[in-house]
């Protein structure tokens, strides 16, 4: 479970997670929390899409030229060697997208 606190100024003021997941999903959620706290939702979404595209092998950009530099998140790249585990890394980010867009159903990576 991922919890996001988004203030009236559209900034993500807090991120927490709880539950059991594999090491990759937990690491990804942890890195997500570090990355998006303090960001506005638009920038958070840009990080999310850049990372997901990169993990899916659809881009090699880690700096999208709009001030989004993946930095620490590049640690997640190793997951590309384990195709069956890519979803573990992207799950938290899909949840972020869903939360920002106000979804009410649990998020999946499908």
């Amino acid at each position: 479970m991922l919890y996001f606190q988004i203030g009236g100024d559209d900034r993500i003021s807090d991120v927490r997670f709880e539950g059991s997941g594999c090491a990759i999903s937990v690491a990804s959620a942890s890195l997500l929390a570090d990355t998006v706290i303090g960001l506005n939702t638009a920038d958070a979404l840009k990080y999310s899409s850049t990372l997901v595209e990169r993990l899916a092998g659809r881009t090699t950009v880690d700096d999208n030229g709009e001030g989004i530099n993946l930095g620490k998140l590049r640690a997640l790249e190793g997951v590309k060697e384990f195709p069956s585990r890519v979803k573990c890394a992207t799950l938290a980010w899909h949840a972020l997208n869903a939360a920002i867009h106000g979804a009410s159903q649990p998020t999946t990576t499908e």
């Binding site: 059991s20 997941g21 594999c22 090491a23 990759i24 384990f82 585990r85 573990c88």
Partner: protein, 420 residues
């Protein structure tokens, strides 16, 4: 020798050592990530011996044509191969007649066939279908579908912490509203072996027919459907060293005779007219369209291969290996065995400390050890234990003690990685 002049392995020198059979399986001559392949995932799908692979290839090279319809030589060869395989398979499970042996695409289709063709026509609101908490999704969802379609109710017999079915409750649930009891022979997630003869006898005392999901049983022990007296028995080729895409539904002739067809099409008819079509006799009534002929040939060959080894000997060998697996796993500090019934076959699920099953599986894969991780298509069992999934090691006749040692060593690696 089988009809394709492919020699079955010489059994004389194999009388005492099932473990030597590993050499019959080409998959084991490869390395995975720099390690010999340790394949402990036969419950998901088994490896095929060279004779199955070669016989299928020979069929495709020299004997292929469509079955049942042609007057030419190749069509005769194909039909003979297909029907001879049916006879071998029928003998393997001791079906009373070849009319009771239906080819399907696998256990899942077999079960759907029974749900739609045996149950659905007469099921009504207030009727019940009884399964157990051990069932694989393939023996749950077809019944949920038919219950939605008819208004019938699905009941579930509970299990205990060891993964055994609560027999008293199961028997108590067998009342006059239950129209079918459909249960697994061996649990794919926990390895539990159900006491089928007793359960079937009790169900029959109450006139309740019984379908058995035998997918995880047929590769590991002798099956005698007449001795079990089950009404239907379903299993898959790819779990028993045959190809994917082929399986069997055994059904008592009296039932199959009365059941309407499952799928319509060619071959399951005698005569087609727009003002009325008559259906073919058994077993063809339930085999619409061009079948998976090469799959059937492969399954028949797999059956011949198993018969040459003897299911009793395979069963004895695997039981000893399972005892070793259980014992060795218990030497790993922090191991939690899941599925500890007194009667088990082939399978041991486990967790290690609080390491997620997928992580264990990935680390083991790096050592060439193939196990399955997750819910094993048995989510209700995972819910029962309150866990997202397990690591499952499953044994087949080609496994040996070194495989188990490699698994335990891999678990040691995993502990190291996660203890840092």
């Amino acid at each position: 020798m089988n009809k394709h002049n492919i020699k079955l392995p010489d059994r004389v020198d194999r009388i005492v050592d099932i473990a030597n059979c590993r050499a019959d399986f080409p998959a084991f001559s490869q390395e995975i990530n720099g390690h010999p392949l340790t394949y402990l995932d036969s419950a998901a799908s088994s490896q095929q011996p060279a004779i199955v692979i070669d016989t299928v290839a020979e069929y495709q090279r020299h004997d292929h044509a469509n079955v049942h319809r042609g007057v030419h030589e190749l069509s005769h060869r194909a039909t003979e191969a297909y029907e001879d395989a049916r006879d071998s398979i029928g003998t393997f499970v001791n079906a009373a007649s070849r009319r009771e042996v239906i080819y399907t695409s696998g256990t899942t289709e077999s079960i759907n066939l029974v749900a739609q063709s045996f149950c659905r026509p007469t099921l009504k609101r207030g009727d019940k279908i009884l399964i157990t908490h051990l069932e694989h999704h393939s023996n749950i969802v077809p019944w949920q579908l038919v219950c939605e379609q008819t208004g019938a109710e699905l009941l579930v017999a509970p299990i205990d912490q060891q993964g055994q079915v609560d027999l008293d409750t199961l028997l108590a649930l067998l009342d006059e509203k239950v129209k079918i009891l459909t249960i697994t022979h061996v649990s794919n997630a926990l390895g539990t072996v159900l006491p089928l003869r007793k359960i079937i006898a009790e169900a029959h005392r109450r006139d309740i027919p019984v379908l058995i999901d035998g997918a995880q049983a047929v590769p590991h022990m002798p099956i005698d459907v007449q001795d079990l007296d089950c009404d239907f028995y379903a299993f898959s080729g790819h779990k028993m060293f045959g190809p994917t895409g082929i399986g069997i539904l055994y059904g008592k002739e009296a039932h199959l005779e009365k059941m309407p067809p499952y799928q319509g099409g060619g071959d399951m008819i005698l005569e087609v007219k727009f003002d009325g079509t008559t259906y073919n006799e058994l077993p063809y009534k339930f085999e619409a369209g061009t079948p998976n002929i090469s799959g059937a040939v492969g399954l028949g060959t797999a059956v011949d291969y198993l018969q040459s080894l003897g299911m009793d000997r395979i069963s004895k060998y695997e039981n000893e290996l399972l005892a070793y697996l259980t014992k060795q796993l218990q030497t790993v500090d922090g191991i939690r065995l899941i599925g500890t019934a007194t009667q088990k076959a082939s399978v041991q699920s486990f967790l290690l400390e609080d390491i997620h099953a997928h992580d264990l599986g990935t680390i083991l894969d790096r050592q060439g050890v193939a196990v399955r991780t997750g819910h094993h298509c048995a989510m209700p069992i995972m819910d029962f234990y309150g866990i997202p999934g397990t690591v499952r090691a499953s044994l087949a006749l080609y496994n040996n003690k070194q495989d188990i040692d490699a698994l335990v060593e891999g678990l040691g690696e995993a502990k190291e990685i996660f203890s840092g």
